[in-house]
Amino acid sequence: MTLEVENLSVSFPTPTGEHVAVHDLSFTLRPGRVVALVGESGSGKSVTARSLIGLAGPTARVSAQRLSLGGQDLRRLPPRDWRALRGRDIGMVLQDALVALDPLRPVGREIAESLSAHKWGTRAGRNQRVQELLEQVGIPEPALRARQRPDELSGGLRQRALIASAIALTPPLLIADEPTTALDPSVQAQILRLLGRLRDGGTGLLLISHDLGFVSRLADHVIVLHHGMVVEQGETARVLGRPVHAYTRTLLDADPVRHPPRIATPQGTDTPPLLTAHDLSLSRRGPDGVARRILSDVGFSLHPGRTLGLIGESGSGKTTTARIVMGLTQPDTGEVAFMGERWVQSGRHGVPEGARRPRRRAMAMIYQDPLGSFDPRWTVREILADALSAGGDPSGDRDHAIATLLDRVRLPPAIAARRPAGLSGGQRQRVAIARAVAVRPALIVCDEPVSALDVSVQAQVLDLLEELQRELGMAYLFISHDLGVIRRMCDDVLVMQDGRIVEAGPAAQILTAPRHAFTRTLLDAAQDLSAA
């Protein structure tokens, strides 16, 4: 069964006029083949996916010269036929199974629903089928898992469950919309293999992703979308190997993996460490009341002007470490010294916030979600003015200071009057950076500063951070789950797993010759995913 799309256009009426989400998109998807839609947020990938199963929404105006599945014209399909088609002829996998599966129901029921929706078999038969499917997608103890809810499953398992529910009726075609985004690299690799198996099993796959590396591993045919326009399409090897369109090239170059690794800053041996942490550990009581160790004797030191990378999978304790360093969370044991003085001290005679406050300006933070860190009522000007006043900025001329800051982070002065909510992700993160440098800190803690951004923007922000470090000479404590980013940014690296540091050392050495097994798996996963 083949899906043929010719000049598909989707548009939405908006107060300001017709907004064209997708324009003249054409491709053909055959069983056993993989077509990839690549592009950054707002490029129209998802709209396309939804249009193909008739779920673009009532306000959407979908038009095409040809839109047929196995010869059946989809353009004037009555709702009931659409329903019959969904799940049976085309399956759909969304990103993040935690919300893509009903969080209140056991995954087994969700999968069974794909069967019952099409009156497939008896109840017993369906349950049987559910078991098979779970096994097929490689979930151990399927009987148990079927009774668990998404939040009770690990990221990898639940994503597999989601896929299982999509392929329940073995549809010839499968649409995967960002199937691996926000997953840890190792999990991404597993999903990659699973999708590969499905393709080999003869399923036609429409793969939607922003991750070129991931796409290159799977797709036969790549379509690069930019603002709803097709900028380039063709054989994967050709498009990714010899891109003709500039945008494609920027996308490729943006991939941190392609960026030369950082040349380590020479360590000023004479200078005392800017920041030292000793056997920090912390345990927290979970909702079930059971105390869990989330950090165990973590210790490290960071010298002025250098960048220390903190890598590990989600839940490995990276952010907790950062918060303790920031003095926002009190550890159970251990202490932190900053600029040679006691900064954080566990136990009763800890350092009072009052004693920290004068030195706080010397340490700034950049958050993964900048928006949440801005007061929704404030304009960019107010935000920066506030930061400057905190930094005890001497120059009387606020507006000038703000202008210089904005210029420093490559933002137009006009931004000053706007609220962060109205800005793009990249702009927001730049404002966050501007706020951080406003206080002229000696250390900036960066918690996943780019993981929420499109690749091209990612690259620009990373460039900016490097540049600022060169100019202002501050040190970074840099947290990321992305090896590429770490390789590019860091002098030294700490690898964390389950709240412990499993390996530490110079980036060059760790990322080339890892000693610890976990580090190696991380690297392998990254290898699998990075473009050929």
Binding site: L328, P358, R377
Partner: protein, 288 residues
């Protein structure tokens, strides 16, 4: 090129923009009615020439007519006039009560939100306790204690409805207290006082404008309920709830006696709600 229209039953993109809300004219009507109320409260004589207190026993129980658009009551007083003049009473009650209960709520919420663990737990319990007393029950107790009349009524409703608002403001304070930007401010080394003043207070209380607007209507209803139970303003004062309860004894003979005051109450409630919603959208519009 052909265009296929998809059945409306299908999912939409997660865009919060929707069809125009039920009647953009809703808010307009609401504002109009509220202005009318304001006039009635401030300059009632502009809306009616009749004297709300002048009795004419022999014109009692007249059905709505040109002379008496809303009819007359059991003493032959013009009901339109009484409804109009009653607006001041009722609005005074509404505004007074909502102000009182919101100030109670604010104070408790701040104590609970910023006063440390014990204060927090204490406030939680206090809210529980207050909630265990339905508004009317508390109000009954209050009026039993303070006697009847406007002042006690305001206190009664104010205290009675405080629980709900306290819980709301308290929750707001807590969520703001944990917000990312408050932490960011701490990280910048701002003093707690400054953080409270510049972040927590403004953000916690921004929704209060809306709440207050909507609350007025609710409190008007409650005060009417109390006057209805005979605890309202002393005669001959025109007060909607009192008129309503008086009218109920004559409902079979003169439906208009309780219908029109009730209508006034309902319209007040509705228009404050609608206006409040509009206000909310406006704030959110210029907010995040």
């Amino acid at each position: 090129m052909t265009s296929l229209s998809l059945a409306p039953s299908m999912a939409r993109l997660p865009s919060r923009r929707r069809l125009p809300r039920p009647g953009q004219l809703g808010p307009v009507a609401a504002i109009l009615f509220l202005t009318l109320l304001a006039i009635a409260a401030l300059a009632p004589h502009l809306l009616t020439h009749a004297d709300p207190l002048a009795i004419a026993p022999r014109d009692a129980f007249q059905a709505p007519s040109a002379a008496h658009p809303f009819g007359t009551d059991q003493s032959g007083r013009d009901i339109l006039a009484r409804v109009v003049y009653g607006a001041r009473q009722s609005l005074a009650l509404g505004c007074g009560a909502i102000t009182l209960s919101l100030s109670i709520a604010t104070i408790l919420a701040l104590i609970g939100g910023l006063g440390g663990r014990i204060a927090e737990q204490a406030v939680r319990w206090l809210i529980d306790i207050l909630f265990a007393f339905p508004v009317l029950v508390l109000a009954l107790l209050c009026t039993a204690t303070l006697g009847s009349g406007i002042g006690p009524l305001i206190v009664a409703i104010g205290v009675g409805s405080a629980a709900g608002y306290t819980r709301m403001v308290f929750g707001q304070v807590l969520s703001v207290r944990g917000a990312g930007y408050v932490e960011a401010a701490r990280a910048l080394g701002h003093s707690p006082a400054r953080i409270v003043a510049r972040h927590i207070l403004p953000n916690a209380f921004r929704p209060l404008v809306v709440t207050a607007t909507m609350g007025i209507g609710q409190t008007v209803v409650w005060s009417a309920a109390l006057s209805f139970l005979g605890l309202g303003a002393p005669p001959p004062a025109a007060e909607w709830g009192t008129m309503l309860s008086m009218g109920r004894d004559f409902i079979a003979e003169a439906w208009w006696m309780s219908f029109f005051p009730g209508l006034a109450i309902v319209l007040t409630m509705l228009s404050t709600t609608v206006a409040g919603r509009a206000l909310q959208r406006a704030i959110e519009g210029r907010g995040p």
